[in-house]
């Protein structure tokens, strides 16, 4: 059974022009022990998927899905406290903007120590618990690569650099030994050395603790070094989904191809100094979504049929939704 299984997730936001489908029939599946990458341009709705999974969605948005289950339990129908319990012990999440994920008026130490569940310190007397918590906190900080714990435990969020905040949130996420870690853009704006550190840490956790990871990122290089599977999102629609190696070798969807082509190091056949082949134009806003395939206006292969929404099709376990996929080229 998959850990997380999402089928046809649709999220509608009410705006001045009525309901806008910010996510349209999104599919996503995470198996035990795998690292799945979720990629797409800025504004394609990656963070919205993350928020839909963890339930951090405002009450006035409309969310529907054929399936949104965690280990077989329907996340949309279980009670709020049940859901919180799952979030507490089984799913950990690192939101996109690390500094705004931290309470500005509490020190990092307080926030890390209060995340440590009571059962972990239950076998000690209550006057020893603070000390025990502190020990655990320091150990966690060392694990994520923060060596100078004295300096940071008493610091407030506005006093620390973004990459420290990011590592700190990873430490918070690891406290409860979750089965799934959702990391939304965890390497944004990091220097290359810290980035490698964080990526290494995540892969290591995946191997040693069998931690599944949903890795949301723009950074194709980072993704290809880590992920087993990849889901490509465009404008709130999943356009392609499959094994990382397969997708890299032979993308079926024009958007995936453009995305891969925009990262030069992905193409070995690239002649030197050739212009980058990326798509024209920019991602449409939610108020001006094209009908049918949302890539239509920017797609080099678009034809008349594309005003109808393409069905989800698959070649073995490689899913795509496009009327004119790139397989036909070969024929």
């Amino acid at each position: 059974m998959a850990l997380l299984d999402i089928k046809n997730l649709t999220l509608e936001i009410s705006g001045s022009t009525g309901w806008m489908k910010a996510l349209d029939k999104v599919n996503l599946r995470i198996e035990e022990g795998e690292i799945r990458a979720l990629v797409g341009e800025s504004g394609s709705g990656k963070s919205l998927i993350v928020r839909a999974i963890v339930g951090a969605i405002p009450d006035n948005w409309r969310i529907t899905a054929d399936r949104l289950t965690w280990r077989g339990r329907d996340l949309l129908t279980i009670s709020r406290s049940e859901r919180r319990k799952i979030m507490r012990s089984e799913i950990a999440v690192i939101f996109q903007n690390p500094v705004s994920s931290l309470d500005p008026s509490a020190t990092l130490g307080e926030q890390l120590m209060e995340s440590i569940p009571r059962q972990i310190v239950a076998d000690t007397w209550f006057w020893q618990r603070r000390k025990k918590r502190l020990q655990i906190a320091i150990k966690l900080l060392h694990k994520v690569g923060i060596k100078d714990h004295q300096k940071y435990l008493h610091a407030y969020p506005h006093q620390i650099a973004d990459d420290i905040a990011q590592k700190f949130l990873i430490a918070c996420a690891l406290v409860s030994s979750p089965q799934l870690l959702i990391a939304d853009d965890p390497t944004r704006g990091m220097e290359i050395t810290t980035k490698i550190q964080v990526l290494k840490l995540l892969s290591q956790l995946n191997k040693t603790r069998n931690l599944s990871i949903l890795f949301v990122s723009h950074d194709l290089l980072a993704i290809s070094s880590m992920a087993n599977k990849m889901t490509v999102l465009y404008c709130g629609q999943t356009v392609e989904d499959g094994k990382m190696v397969q997708l890299r070798k032979r993308p079926l969807h024009p958007y995936t191809k453009a995305l891969l082509d925009s990262a030069p190091s992905f193409r070995k056949d690239l002649p030197p100094k050739s212009p980058l082949t990326t798509l024209d134009g920019t991602i449409p806003t939610l108020q001006h979504l094209p009908i049918g395939c949302r890539l239509g206006p920017r797609c080099p292969r678009a034809q008349k049929e594309c005003v109808k929404v393409p069905e989800l099709r698959h070649v073995q376990d490689h899913f795509y939704s496009c009327h004119f996929p790139l397989i036909r080229e070969k024929e």
């Binding site: 405002p58 939101f95 309470d103 008026s105 209060e114 995340s115 569940p117 300096k151 610091a155 406290v175």
Partner: protein
């Protein structure tokens, strides 16, 4: 860091008070009539006495010198005399200002006791019926004119029901000597026989004016708190705190309450200024012997020295209180105190 904060605020305070003293000095010249009379409050002077006063106050020197003398006099408590009563203004102000402060302080206290808890309730019940009902009630409370409310309260509770006295601060039966100007302290310090009865009478006199002031201010504080709670509870760190595994109560107590209160504490301080203005109106209606009532009488009687001194006293008080709450808010807010974005 803390010290620089204090010094910075203190500089601001001194500077504002300085500007204020200049403005009040200008009033001496701007009010109609003889500037010397406006300054001292002494009327019908003989030519010799006039000459002598002009010398004392530097009227044969430059304006700067006059201002300098004015400032030293202010600091020494020589604020001139009232036209109407002929008493020293400093003494009159020291008798009336505490009464106003007392009234405003109780009103602020009750407004906080009512506004803040209901603000939290409404903020947590956002978009629910209880939120909308409280919000509606606050709009009503907010838009009722203070003087109208006071009159209605008098009509119902004093004239119809006879529960509370109509006006004044204390029943005339009790003669409490003026010491601090704060009625309960004065009653306590005095050696009259019926201290308890006097205090009871003081409470009874206090209820209606306090109530009139509280309704408006509590509505404002309610709205500030509610907004702040809604903002904080929808912020990302609260969402994250839930996903970090804290229970609902823990999130609210550890992260919600503090962050909701921190930004609005300086706003509470500013309410005191509004409150003092409203208190002046209420004082007139309830014949409360406070600075507002006194100032209005001064305006009616064109008592220019008293107007000048009264305005100076009230604005000084407001400024000191505003700066102090601002400073307090900065000191208790870790995100504001200390160097911003001093990354370690």
């Amino acid at each position: 860091m803390m010290l620089t904060q204090i010094i910075r605020k203190f500089n601001l305070l001194i500077l504002t008070l300085f500007v204020l003293s200049i403005l009040s000095f200008l009033l001496v010249y701007l009010f109609p009539g003889d500037p010397l009379v406006n300054l001292t409050g002494l009327e019908n002077l003989s030519p010799e006495a006039h000459q002598k006063l002009a010398e004392i106050h530097g009227f044969d020197h430059s304006y700067f010198y006059q201002y300098w003398l004015y400032l030293t006099n202010l600091l020494e408590g020589e604020w001139g005399f009232s036209f109407s009563s002929g008493n020293p203004l400093w003494r009159e102000i020291m008798q009336t200002l505490p009464a106003s402060m007392e009234l405003s302080a109780y009103a602020l206290l009750f407004s906080l006791l009512i506004g803040v808890p209901f603000g939290f309730i409404a903020g947590f019940q956002h978009y629910k019926l209880s939120d909308y009902s409280l919000l509606t009630a606050s709009v009503v409370g907010y838009s009722i004119p203070v003087f109208w409310l006071s009159l209605i309260l008098i009509l119902v509770f004093s004239l119809q029901l006879g529960w509370f006295p109509l006006s004044g601060r204390l029943s005339l039966l009790y003669d409490i000597p003026h010491q601090t100007g704060f009625i309960f302290i004065d009653i306590f310090l005095s050696d009259v026989e019926f201290k308890n009865d006097a205090a009871k009478s003081a409470v009874q006199h206090l209820i209606l004016p306090t109530l009139s002031l509280t309704i408006v201010t509590a509505s404002i504080i309610f709205r500030l708190t509610r907004r702040s709670v809604i903002d904080v509870m929808s912020s990302q760190y609260i969402q994250t705190a839930y996903t970090r595994g804290l229970s609902g109560l823990q999130v609210v107590m550890r992260h919600g309450v503090r962050n909701a209160l921190l930004p609005i504490i300086p706003l509470f301080g500013m309410q005191f200024a509004v409150l003092l203005t409203n208190a002046m109106i209420v004082e007139v209606i309830f014949s409360w012997p406070g600075i507002g009532n006194w100032l209005i009488q001064a305006i009616f009687q064109r008592d220019y020295p008293a107007i000048r001194a009264g305005m100076l006293a009230v604005s000084t008080l407001v400024i000191i209180l505003t700066v102090c709450t601002d400073l307090l808010a900065n000191l208790i807010n870790p995100a504001l105190s200390g160097d911003r974005r001093a990354q370690i």
